[in-house]
């Protein structure tokens, strides 16, 4: 039972982390109609920045804040230098251009930080386990990821739905020319949104960094998961991204933890332990296939796109 609660919390933590990634991806797509494969690179860069700045300042928190700002700046620079030229193009061009950016960023990181991975050590106060319910201990760091992600998700909702900037963002998504004609600097707005998406990816990256090693190509595996989430949730829908991210987080985590045991009940033990790792990493793709068979546009489609 303890294990089950712990795995549920892990699922929640992973799901929320994936949401941060998927939200940036879907925000950029929903508003600028831009498919950004290089989103995972920004996740990677966030992690590298965090490792570097933490080592320089000697403080995990200060390093994280600096990394967040740096990733935001990198995102805005990327938008101005490359993305801006891709808006009017079709999706194939987006995919190719941003794929080029992945290659570029991977090599750039190798050039700056070298081929070996980095470690981002946690400060002591985040390492102790916390007793959440009597008898159940849980990692303070993972708990803090859950809290931070929830705050960011809430903040994103308020920003998009309740503020003037959010209103402009939503208006710009529906009709770019009209908003521009009303005297809004739509170009600046797009740069800001892209920077925001980058910062979200960077946040996910730097929070994941102490759990995994910071390494080249770390964004590529998780990017696929973020894609799966945006497809399940409906591209362009932040609400869909949240629901789908939680689904995927739970299914992936619980699947890996309990699926082998379930399989052992129906299959001979040897066959089960060979098949289990492959099958449990397939689960989310099965989920995606089922969702698409039922609703080809995703669960919360943002309409015709």
């Amino acid at each position: 039972m303890t294990l089950f609660i712990e795995q549920c919390l892990n699922g929640l933590q992973f799901g929320l982390l994936l949401f941060l990634l998927a939200a940036g991806l879907t925000l950029v797509f929903g508003i600028m109609d831009l498919v950004n494969l290089a989103h995972g690179s920004l996740y990677m860069i966030g992690a590298y920045f965090a490792a570097t700045f933490s080592a320089l300042t000697g403080s995990f928190l200060l390093g994280a804040v600096l990394a967040l700002i740096a990733t935001l700046v990198v995102g805005m620079v990327v938008e101005v230098v490359a993305m801006r030229r891709l808006y009017g193009r079709d999706h194939l061009d987006h995919v190719l251009g941003t794929f080029g950016l992945i290659l570029f960023f991977n090599e750039l990181v190798r050039l700056v930080w070298g081929p070996a991975g980095l470690a981002l050590p946690l400060p002591g106060w985040l390492q102790q386990p916390i007793e959440i319910v009597p008898g159940v201990q849980y990692s303070a760091y993972r708990l803090s990821i859950i809290v931070v992600s929830l705050i960011v998700a809430g903040g994103l909702y308020v920003l998009v739905m309740r503020t003037r900037i959010g209103m402009l963002i939503r208006a710009g998504a529906s009709n770019r020319e009209m908003v521009g004609a009303l005297g809004v600097n739509i170009q600046l707005l797009y740069t800001l949104v892209f920077g925001l998406g980058a910062a979200l990816a960077g946040l996910a990256g730097l929070m994941q960094a102490p759990i995994l090693t910071v390494q080249i190509g770390m964004g590529e595996n998780i990017l696929i998961l973020a894609f799966v989430i945006t497809v399940i949730g409906g591209i362009g829908s932040i609400r869909g991204a949240l629901v789908a991210a939680l689904f995927v987080g739970f299914i992936d985590t619980l699947g890996r933890a309990f699926f082998p045991d379930l399989l052992r009940m129906v299959l001979p033990s040897a066959a089960a332990s060979t098949a289990a790792p492959a099958l449990s990493s397939m689960l989310i793709y099965l989920l995606m296939a089922i969702v698409l068979i039922v609703k080809p546009e995703g669960l919360f489609s943002a309409g015709q796109r």
Binding site: R85, V95, L96, L103, E220, F227, T274, M282, Y285, G298
Partner: protein, 338 residues
């Protein structure tokens, strides 16, 4: 009768050069060239198959490298189990690819645009994880193939020259097949669906079925390429079907010229030759902004040039190499402006 334009001349020269390459390799004693071009010819076959659905069918599959893996693993797994006959291995490779393409296509083609891109990508990743998880066939580490596919005695795939010509035969056959298909009624309908699916459906074409058939044809072609690639490397690993490999295939198609018969072949040559040459150039220049310690390793950093180069091609040279050749023809009045 094709007219004598720069574009047609270049294509003809490329074919002649490919046909004569083993002769050069033999005379100059340059074995590396033959190995490199065997790889180029095999991957060009994969690019041709991707171009068939991407360029002519408008289906932006981002999981095409999965068939490289499926074809390769069909050969590898059978070989591991002691079945070395190519007459069994290759039909299995094609059959598995066809089946996968049928299932994945049937699901993915229900969707459009970005959804299609991401779904093909995700299904390919699924296959990648399955193969990585099978410990019996090497899992993550891949599977070494001890014996190349065996055919009747005169045909010996271990002979580099013979193997090269086998690969080249399949490539030229695939290019010819593409040429025949795109000019057939089926191909015309496919291109009609690419430009306006609604209209095609309105005049009575079962568009879903047309697209699915094209998707399966491309899958089978690429599965063959996978079987060849596994034979060439004597090795197959999950990494051949990793999603960035699919990206590489798309680059080859776009670099050469999407939706043209010969473009993907030229694109593959350009991509793989750049892969060989760029590190040398970078090493020569020595990347001034790198410290001296890193300068020795500079050749590893060729992607830092390749990446932006790709972005530039996308932004400024949409037609790829084929488009450039056509522009040259227009410049010299060999082709009327469209």
């Amino acid at each position: 009768m094709p007219s004598l334009t720069i574009r047609n001349t270049v294509v003809a020269l490329v074919i002649v050069a490919l046909l004569l390459l083993p002769v050069y390799s033999y005379l100059a004693g340059d074995r590396f060239m033959l190995t490199l071009f065997t790889r180029i010819v095999i991957l060009a076959l994969a690019a041709v198959s991707l171009n068939f659905i991407l360029g002519f069918g408008g289906m932006m599959s981002f999981g095409h490298a999965v068939y490289l893996g499926l074809g390769g693993y069909a050969v590898g797994m059978l070989s591991y189990e002691g079945i070395h006959s190519g007459f069994i291995q290759w039909p299995v490779a094609l059959g598995v690819s066809a089946l996968f393409a049928l299932v994945i296509g049937a699901l993915s083609l229900r969707t459009r645009g970005v959804y299609f891109i991401m779904i093909t990508l995700a299904f390919a990743q699924m296959a990648y994880y399955i193969v990585s998880g099978i410990a019996r066939y090497g899992g993550d580490d891949g599977l070494t193939i001890d014996t190349r596919s065996r055919f009747f005695p005169p045909l010996n795939l271990s002979d580099k020259t013979q193997f090269y010509y086998v690969c080249l035969f399949f490539l030229l056959a695939a290019v010819y097949l593409t040429f025949r298909i795109v000019n057939s009624r089926f191909g015309m309908a496919l291109q009609g669906i690419r430009s306006n699916e609604l209209r095609m459906r309105a005049i009575g074409f079962p568009t879903y079925r047309y697209r699915l058939v094209a998707f399966v044809i491309a899958g089978v072609m690429c599965g063959l390429s996978g079987a060849l690639l596994a034979n060439q490397a004597d090795f197959v690993s999950p990494s051949v079907m990793y999603w960035t490999r699919s990206g590489d295939l798309i680059i080859m198609v776009v670099l050469g010229g999407m939706g043209t018969v010969a473009g993907p072949v030229m694109g593959t040559i350009a991509f793989l030759v750049l892969e060989e040459i760029l590190p040398v150039i970078i090493k020569f220049i020595g990347l001034p902004f790198v410290g001296t310690a890193a300068a020795g390793r500079a050749s590893e950093y060729w992607m830092i040039v390749m990446g932006p180069l790709l972005l530039l091609v996308v932004l400024f040279a949409r037609g790829g190499i084929d488009g450039l050749l056509m522009k040259l023809d227009e410049r010299f009045g060999l082709r009327r402006q469209p």
